[in-house]
């Protein structure tokens, strides 16, 4: 378990623009072990999604590169399955057929028809979607769509599961449900996961390590925080846990003190800032405890 599974080395990326190349990422280095759950957190526009897209193979790094099990990544493939922010299910296929498309693609010739059917149903069961598996995306809720998106990614049996703000578009309660489901699945499968998030609680609750990124352009890895909390984790117990709150405070302090967005940048994206501040204040409602620490971190935000 100490060997590196996925490795990003000196990754730079430049996008051509009419006014010259725009350097979005500068020298990103990251080593991920097998079965590790990594969160990427940072302000919007810092290139988190770009990192994910490079690992997925959808973007090519200008300099440096990505190694997965010692092999270079230079094109997309099902061994690096992606859960997209807005589910990206094919709207003309049912939940079952959406998963089936992926399973056919990955296991054609390796599994029999009956085995494939069982595998599709097994994955839909993992995300608790068996009851609606023959419904099309427009007939199910946003949270259910995202569950199917996760089932589709899991069904590819990926070496790395990439999640681009998987719960970003969902309301707080649905998000909490899905996070719990994801932890449950993770207990069973122990996948290697890279997840992008804006949500500090989500990052601390789910991750083994939180990778905090500096502001773009020329963004890079700022700090890496090890989350040494025992699993399985319970959000209600953790809400009162000093260690948990210490981790939260560390991430908040990185985001709002060390990497505070400059005024003009902040003005451009006020909604995101507000949302994060809102998260801090919303915590007592979700967890029903730990008012003290929360106020403390909220104060920090105000001070910053």
């Amino acid at each position: 378990m100490t060997t590196t599974h996925l490795e990003l080395t000196g990754v730079d990326i430049e996008f051509p623009t009419p006014s010259g190349p725009f350097k979005a990422l500068d020298n990103v280095n990251l080593k991920i072990k097998k079965g590790e759950y990594i969160s990427l957190i940072g302000h919007s526009g810092c290139g988190k999604s770009t990192v994910l897209n490079i690992v997925a193979g959808l973007y090519q790094a200008t300099k440096g590169g990505v190694l997965l099990d010692g092999k270079e990544v230079n094109e997309p493939g099902p061994e690096r399955a992606v859960v997209f922010q807005n589910h990206s299910l094919l709207p003309w296929l049912t939940a079952y057929e959406n998963v089936e498309l992926a399973v056919n693609q990955v296991f054609k010739g390796k599994k029999s028809k009956a085995e494939m059917k069982a595998w599709i149903e097994h994955n839909l069961e993992l995300v608790h979607m068996t009851h609606a598996m023959h419904k099309r995306p427009d007939e199910i809720s946003g949270g259910m769509k995202q569950r199917v998106g996760i089932a589709r990614a899991l069904a590819m049996e990926p070496k790395v599961l990439l999640m681009d703000e998987p719960f970003g578009a969902l309301d707080a309660l649905t998000r909490a449900h899905l996070q719990d489901s994801l932890m449950e699945i993770q207990n069973e499968l122990n996948n290697t996961v890279i997840m992008i998030t804006h949500d500090v609680d989500e990052a601390v609750l789910l991750s083994d390590r939180i990778v905090m990124m500096t502001n773009g352009p020329e963004a890079t890895v700022g700090e890496i925080l090890e989350i040494d909390l025992p699993r399985p984790r319970n959000r209600i117990e953790l809400a009162d846990d000093p260690q948990y709150n210490h981790y939260r405070a560390a991430v908040l302090s990185f985001l709002y003190e060390k990497q505070r967005k400059p005024e003009e940048g902040g003005a451009a994206k006020p909604a995101k800032e507000k949302k994060l501040a809102q998260d801090v204040q919303d915590t007592p409602e979700i967890a029903a405890v730990s008012a003290e620490e929360t106020t403390e971190s909220a104060d920090k935000v105000k001070a910053a």
Binding site: A56, G57, L58, E75, P76, G77, P78, R80, A81, V82, F84, N86, S88, L90, P91, W92, L93, L101, A102, Q105, V106, R136, D138, M156
Partner: protein, 332 residues
């Protein structure tokens, strides 16, 4: 209640089921009674207007004359059918006699060569328009997909498409006629030359809307779905069948319906000018004939052409509703 306005009875049911019969009744009036009033007013204006237009072929036909001519055309058609049947019966009797005298005699059934009636012409026109439309679609849909998927190809072909799109069928017709005469030579042709000429002209004029709309639909596929396709490493064919085709279906059908409408208009003009069999020829023949009935018969043809065009569009709409995956979309 159902949102579909195609169901004629839903507003009637709504009156009885609704908690607010007054509003439902008003809705019913709007949905059914207003169109009827529109038609009645039109008939009235037509009748009054027609009486005051005097042409060299007599008074312009009003609704009553048109109705009489419709009956006349139906009678003519039935009379022609009886003649045809009698013609074949005579032949069969003659052949039977021949065979009775000499069992080895060679017998022949000669085809009936009577004048095509109005309804025969409708049939010819429908077959031609559908053949031309199908040919155009078979070219336009794959071509549209290729162009939509390939930006350089689109840039290369766009000027040509824009150039040929507005060309009138009448401009193509002489060229098509000459080319068909030159290239389509066979002793025992499967189709008449006039049919091929009409078909090619119709196809040339009606393939553009399908081509362009398919190309636009294909190039507008969301980036997310393209990413999904890439992550799954779908092969080109699977990508086209599973992702490109379904997501461009709405735009494709917009194009197909425009194409079919154009095909129908073009066909009538082409038949008229080229003397190809069909409704266009019927109109032209009646015009040349110049009897006192001619204007009435032409008016019947005008209404039938309109009605068929409308029905063709409704059929396309039904197919679209059947094929469309987005059952919530409002299609009209």
């Amino acid at each position: 209640m159902s949102h579909s306005s195609t169901n004629l009875f839903s507003p009637v049911l709504a009156i009885f089921q609704s908690e607010n019969p007054g509003a439902a009744l008003l809705n019913f009036v709007k949905q059914l009674v207003m169109p009827v009033i529109g038609i009645l007013v039109f008939l009235l204006i037509w009748d009054i207007g027609a009486k005051n237009i005097h042409t060299s072929l007599g008074t312009f036909p009003g609704p009553v004359q048109v109705y009489e001519q419709t009956i006349g055309l139906i009678d003519e058609h039935q009379a022609e059918r009886q003649k045809e049947q009698a013609f074949y019966e005579r032949q069969e009797k003659r052949n039977a006699k021949k065979l009775a005298k000499n069992p080895d005699a060679k017998v022949k059934i000669r085809p009936y060569t009577g004048k095509p009636t109005f309804f025969d012409q409708i049939g010819t026109s429908l077959v031609t328009v559908l053949a031309g439309f199908v040919l155009a679609s078979l070219i336009a849909i794959p071509a549209g997909i290729m162009i939509g998927l390939n930006q350089p190809l689109y840039s290369a072909l766009n000027p040509l498409i824009q150039l040929f799109k507005p060309v009138s069928p009448l401009a193509w017709l002489p060229l098509v006629t000459m080319v068909v005469s030159a290239l389509y030579v066979s002793k025992d042709p499967m189709f008449a030359k006039s049919f091929i000429t009409s078909l090619v002209t119709v196809s040339l004029c009606c393939l553009w809307p399908t081509l362009l709309n398919t190309a636009v639909g294909v190039s507008a596929i969301s980036k997310d779905l393209q990413n999904v396709s890439q992550v799954l490493r779908l092969s080109f064919m699977t990508h086209v069948i599973k992702i490109v085709l379904p997501s461009s279906i709405p735009m494709m059908f917009t194009g197909l319906r425009l194409s079919l409408g154009i095909a129908w208009m073009v066909l009538i003009a082409a038949e008229m000018l080229a003397q190809n069999p069909g409704l266009g020829k019927f109109v032209w023949d009646e015009f040349q004939n110049g009897s006192s009935n001619s204007l009435g018969r032409i008016m019947v043809a005008v209404l039938v052409i309109g009605l068929i065009g409308f029905m063709l569009d409704r059929i396309m709409l039904l197919i679209q509703k059947k094929v469309s995956w987005d059952k919530t979309a409002v299609l009209r």
